[in-house]
């Protein structure tokens, strides 16, 4: 059972981590709680389905196109809808949620509610410590690791990363220093949406592609980001793993309550936040607000 919990916890947490990373990035930089984040993941999944299954394009090529498409869409949505209201958190949340629902309804009209499947990059499965794991799940874990490394490299080794960090620390000073804050925020949103696109490519083959697929991950992503500390990419990954393990523990220790897996992992988040309100790796809220 320990091997099962370990492997399944890693798998579940890894898939949450991919989605949480992009969300954490845009919040850390642009201070935007973009509730449409997982809707971009859904759009990427449909894009890949349409191009690879319906149009017959190679899967890898479809995935690259999906990432570029969602990145561009993220930039457009931010520039048109959110840039002007970014200082009003409530407006941002409502608008971004509305955007997510709009995408859902549009996809429902175009594709109906029928389930579809994106083929996996690597079909088949293997056994680790006696536990059956699909290759696609392993790919999801590896990709989340690469994304984390990639974000670290981008932020610490590139001029763009320095500009992004400057904007994240202080909008006004960064603006005074000649950094185009609006452009940095737009680009960051594009990168975040692109990361959601990567999640769509890697995670979507594990589930069914349908217009409601963005709602459940949104709750878990919010939980991971809040638990990890708003704006901390490292925190988001660790929190995603904690939530993944919490869910897995429920399934193995209380199988009759597996429908409560989501609720219990959120309770874990609440307990941690009560002890440490800023999250595991976040700064204290008051400092954040100043």
């Amino acid at each position: 059972m320990i091997a099962n919990i370990l492997i399944n916890g890693l798998i579940t947490g890894g898939t949450f981590a991919i989605l949480a990373l992009g969300f954490s990035l845009v919040f850390g930089v642009a201070k935007i709680l973009n509730l449409a984040h997982t809707a971009f993941y859904m759009i990427a999944a449909f894009f890949i389905y349409t191009t690879s299954v319906n149009l017959g394009l190679p899967l890898a090529f479809s995935a690259v196109l999906a990432v570029l498409f969602t990145g561009l869409l993220g930039m457009v949505c931010y520039k048109v809808l959110l840039d002007r209201v970014k200082k009003h958190e409530t407006a941002v949340m409502i608008i971004s949620l509305a955007v997510g629902m709009l995408f859902q309804e549009l996809l429902l009209i175009i594709f109906s509610g029928a389930y579809r499947r994106v083929p996996p990059f690597i079909p088949g499965f293997t056994e680790l410590l006696g536990v059956r794991v699909s290759y696609q799940h392993l790919l999801a874990i590896v990709v989340s690791g690469f994304i984390l490394l990639g974000i670290w490299a981008l932020m610490s080794k590139t001029r763009l990363g320095k500009a992004v960090r400057a904007v994240a620390e202080d909008y006004e000073i960064a603006n005074v220093m000649g950094i185009n804050v609006s452009w940095i925020c737009t680009l960051t949103n594009g990168i975040s949406a692109g990361l959601a696109g990567v999640a769509g490519a890697v995670v979507a083959p594990l589930y069914m592609v349908q217009p409601y697929m963005w709602m459940h991950p949104l709750i878990m992503v919010l939980a991971a980001v809040v638990l990890g500390g708003l704006g901390s990419a490292k925190g988001s990954v660790i929190a995603a793993l904690i939530l993944g393990f919490a869910e897995t523990l429920v399934i193995f220790l209380v199988p009759g309550g597996s429908f409560l897996r989501g609720a219990i992992s959120l309770c874990v988040m609440v307990v941690v936040l009560m002890l440490r309100p800023e999250g595991l790796f976040g700064v204290v809220f008051e400092e954040e607000r100043l």
Binding site: M1, N4, I7, N8, I11, T12, L108, S112, G113, A114, Y115, R116, R117, P119, F125, G130, V131, R132, S134, H137, L206, Y207, M208, Q210, Y212, M213, H216, E247, T248, I251, F252, P255, G256, G257, S258, F259, G262
Partner: protein, 454 residues
């Protein structure tokens, strides 16, 4: 003076012309109204947001078109065309929305009768409105026994409710256990396992609670051992952990009960990971024809049931109906397409009653003995435990147990054998086998796994 007279007469001519044209128009419109064939409104309450429920509308639509093409419904000697009114219930997400949709059908659209409904909780809410407004409601989707039990509790209030399909959850449970029984027999035959181990994977929903209670009593009697109970959400998107837990528990068989969108997730991930256990039971979304494509064929060897299976002639009407339905809608009908028969059943009752007056139609509906596309429809009478429910059993509605193989739903039950005594002692099951019925096959990976363990 002369020009004034001319103007005046031109004006008068203009007024007379307009007046004359108006009179003719009024006459023509009135004549059209009088000469137009009278219609009777029939409501279909369903949600087209999911692939399986769309069939409910399609079935009703096809019936209405056929009935109208054949002359309509004869109500008291006057032919009426059916005017089908669709109401989006959104019931899988919101019972309140479903109740509001029903209210609109009854109070705004003023339909004479309604068919539809799928989710038990929503149908119960719809029944209250049906009772308040005294309108016929022929449920053609939900299997919750609680709806018929309401009729038994308060017949005078709820007598307007009938269920032509699906069979209720008590009967559904019996079919699931029957499928489990024939699968267990195959496990014993092929693998030589005397007491196969069973994992219960049943969604967290009202109807599932009863299933589990019954399973705990019945499975030991059937010579099966329960190794665990897993209750995922009906809307689950991932059951990988549950499936690996089931494999670790050493289960040879998985007994499923999924009516929500999580159904294809279960069968898809079970096939993807090649969990070495059979998968049988009920998967509502899994009986949709598109499941094969949606799971990439990963649902192969899953066993579930529906009112219809490919190429299985349950009654003389089954195959012609399925062929026409597939030609029109491009898919094999699902059980909710029984809304087709709901319209015909209502039509015949109304024609016998000579009116759409609900109380008189109820009396005629209770006399229904109708050969439908999925079996013979006779309703349990008042006084029965489930009044106004379609009778399940040999000679009535049986449903068809099928196994997914090579993209087709192959009939595996009824298989001509008597049912396990606790399920039914009706001798009619012995010898009942539809043409095209084949034996259950175990998934090859399962056979390989367990044979290697010996």
């Amino acid at each position: 003076m002369r020009s004034g007279v001319n103007q005046s007469s031109r004006f008068n001519r203009w007024v007379l012309t307009v007046f004359g044209v108006s009179l003719v128009a009024v006459f023509l419109f009135s004549a059209a109204e009088v000469l137009a064939k009278p219609t009777v409104k029939f409501g279909v309450i369903t949600t087209t947001k999911y692939p399986i429920t769309t069939h409910q509308w399609w079935g009703a639509q096809m019936a209405a078109e056929e009935i109208n093409a054949a002359g309509g419904v004869n109500i008291g000697g006057v032919s009426h065309d059916i005017d089908l009114i669709k109401a989006e219930s959104n019931e899988l997400a919101s019972v309140t929305d479903a109740a509001n949709a029903m209210e609109k059908l009854l109070t705004v659209d003023k339909v004479a009768a309604v068919t539809g409904g799928l989710r038990g909780e929503a149908v119960l809410a719809m029944m209250e409105l049906m009772a308040d407004h005294k309108k016929i409601f022929i449920s053609s989707g939900s299997g919750s026994k609680e709806t018929s039990e309401k009729v038994a509790e308060n017949y005078d209030r709820y007598k307007y409710y009938f269920r032509n399909t699906y069979i209720n959850t008590v009967y559904m449970g019996k079919i699931q256990f029957a499928l489990l029984d024939i699968t267990a027999a195959k496990v014993r035959e092929v693998l030589g396992i005397k007491t196969p181990k069973v994992a219960l994977l049943i969604e967290q929903a009202m109807w599932g609670n009863v299933q589990i209670e019954v399973a705990k009593k019945l499975l030991p009697e059937m010579g099966l051992e329960i190794v665990g109970v897993w209750r995922p959400s009906p809307h689950t998107t991932d059951v990988t952990a549950e499936l690996t837990a089931i494999k670790s528990a050493g289960a040879h068989m998985i007994f499923t009960g999924m009516t929500g969108p999580g159904g294809p997730v279960v069968s898809g991930q079970w096939g993807q990971l090649q969990i070495p256990a059979t998968l049988s039971g009920y998967n509502a979304f899994g009986s949709w024809e598109g499941t094969w494509k949606a799971t990439g064929g990963m649902c192969a060897y899953e066993i579930t049931y529906d009112a219809y299976a490919h190429d299985v002639a349950i009654t003389p009407k089954t195959i012609p109906f399925m062929e026409k339905y597939i030609q029109k809608y491009g898919q094999k009908p699902l059980f909710v397409a029984g809304a087709y028969d709901a319209l015909y059943i209502w039509k015949e009752a109304v024609e016998r009653a000579g009116t759409i007056d609900a109380d008189k139609v109820v009396a005629e509906l209770e006399k229904t003995d109708y050969i439908a596309t999925y079996g013979r429809v006779v309703f349990h009478p008042q006084g029965h435990q489930f009044p106004h429910d379609v009778i399940w059993g040999p000679g009535y509605m049986t449903t068809v147990g099928f196994q997914w193989r090579d993209g087709k739903q192959i009939c595996v039950w009824p298989n001509g054998e008597a049912l396990f005594p606790a399920l039914s002692t009706d001798p009619g099951w012995k010898g009942l086998k539809y043409q095209g019925t084949q034996d259950v096959q175990l998934p090859p990976w399962m056979v390989e796994y367990w044979k290697s363990k010996k």
